[in-house]
Amino acid sequence: MKLFLMFFLAGIFLVVLQTTLFHLLPIGPVVPDLILVLCVYLGLYHPSVGGVLGSFFLGYSIDIVSSPILGFNAFAMSLVYLAVYLCARSIWLHHPMVSSVVVMLAALVKGAAMVVIWAIFLSVDGFWSGAARYVLWEATLAALLAPVLFALLRRGQKIIERLDPATA
């Protein structure tokens, strides 16, 4: 329960961060996608139905705040979770050094999902070159920020596990 609360609060905090303070960064319209990093973390370290639902709702919350049509990010984040979970089941991905690579690949999966859904539901002109730029930018930024967020989440998790050993 305490872990759930921690991830819930982290999700809310990251949404607020992405909608407000991150717009101060001098990187144009690209917003670092920390929600994606959180989903990857859930996929790697919390393989459970709770983790699946968590990723879905994280994506859905982004849809609520920013998307003109609901469901875009919910789909993309669920797909990211599933991809990370399936990979982590067959390959050892839990080393901290690998986190950046995993997040980068997850960002590419998310980008591909967004491109496909966008092409189906919101066909617009000049889409492909713009989409490729966004996908690469987002993946790079997420990969750069992933080790910091992973470390913070792990620390938070350890503190909670120390306070309540039953959650460990």
């Binding site: 607020v16 705040v65 920013s66 998307s67 049509i69 979970y85 919101l122 000049g126």
Partner: protein, 277 residues
């Protein structure tokens, strides 16, 4: 069978989530989702946090501006620098108050030019993702904001309301690829559509090669889309390219109102036969 399902419960629950997302997407794209209680609850929860976050962002922006202003005084001694810093912060505060005052006065004057019932609102958050250009306002259905209303400033058009909760409203900016504003080229009265794009900023679309559009032409709302009142400035043409192929010209537009530099906006509705009834 049950053991198989249990063993693969994460896989199956992920598949269910993917299917649910696709269902939501399809329903939302068809406009079948009218009231969305989870979204309303989340926005209610996020609203104060976003206001606090935006205040912090404004404070940081102000602090950064102050720092830039103070960079020239580095060589002076510590006491003098502290004194200057205090005075500069105070000056900045007064300038900010004056600028806000001027902005609100302009907004008030502008409001008198618009159809009655314009609602003043503040932008409390930007887009959480790079894929959509949107922002969140601090006014919602309880303040009279409705889906489809136009969001404008004295400088020009910002976008339109695409979702409303009790005390917040989501605005799709004119720079988003999914937006579209019916406009006139002010000089020639040619009609076209202004829309965002993912790769090359804001564009003026569907202008035939034979049409006369030049750099510097001002684009104003036509009022034909029943969203934006007629005659509001949308942007200025900054680049015109006539390619060797294709029916239309490729025209880049510089939006008149940049959302990054706007805090207060007006939300206006256009009276149509449907709304009159």
């Amino acid at each position: 069978m049950l053991a198989f399902l249990r063993r693969n419960q994460i896989f199956f629950s992920s598949c269910v989530c993917l299917l649910v997302s696709l269902y939501i997407l399809t329903a939302a794209a068809r406009g079948q989702i009218k009231n969305e209680p989870v979204g309303a609850l989340l926005m209610w929860l996020l609203r104060p946090l976003q206001i606090a976050g935006q205040s912090t962002a404004d404070w940081i922006k102000g602090f950064r501006d102050n720092y830039d202003t103070l960079a020239g005084f580095r060589s002076e001694n510590e006491r003098l620098r502290k004194r200057v810093q205090t005075l500069e912060i105070e000056r900045q505060r007064l300038l900010e108050a004056e600028a806000t005052n001027r902005q609100l006065q302009k907004l008030l004057d502008f409001r008198n030019e618009l159809p009655s019932g314009a609602i003043t609102a503040t932008i409390i958050a930007g887009s959480a993702t790079s894929w959509f250009q949107s922002c969140v306002l601090n006014k919602g259905s309880t303040d009279g904001v409705r889906k489809g209303m136009a969001v404008v400033t004295p400088l020009g058009v910002i976008g339109k309301v695409v979702a409303v909760t009790g005390r917040t409203a989501k605005v799709l900016l004119l720079t988003d690829p999914n937006s579209g504003i019916d406009v006139y080229v002010q000089r020639t009265r040619s009609r076209a559509i202004v829309s965002g794009s993912l790769d090359s900023g804001t564009m003026l679309k569907y202008v035939k090669r034979s049409e006369d559009v030049q750099e510097g032409d001002r684009l104003v709302t036509s009022g034909m889309d029943s969203v934006y009142p007629k005659g509001l400035l949308v942007g200025t043409v900054i680049k015109v390219r006539k390619q060797n192929r294709g029916l239309f010209q490729s025209i880049e537009v510089w939006p008149a109102a940049q959302v990054a530099r706007v805090e207060e906006v007006l939300v206006v509705g256009v009276e149509t036969e449907a709304t009159k009834k």
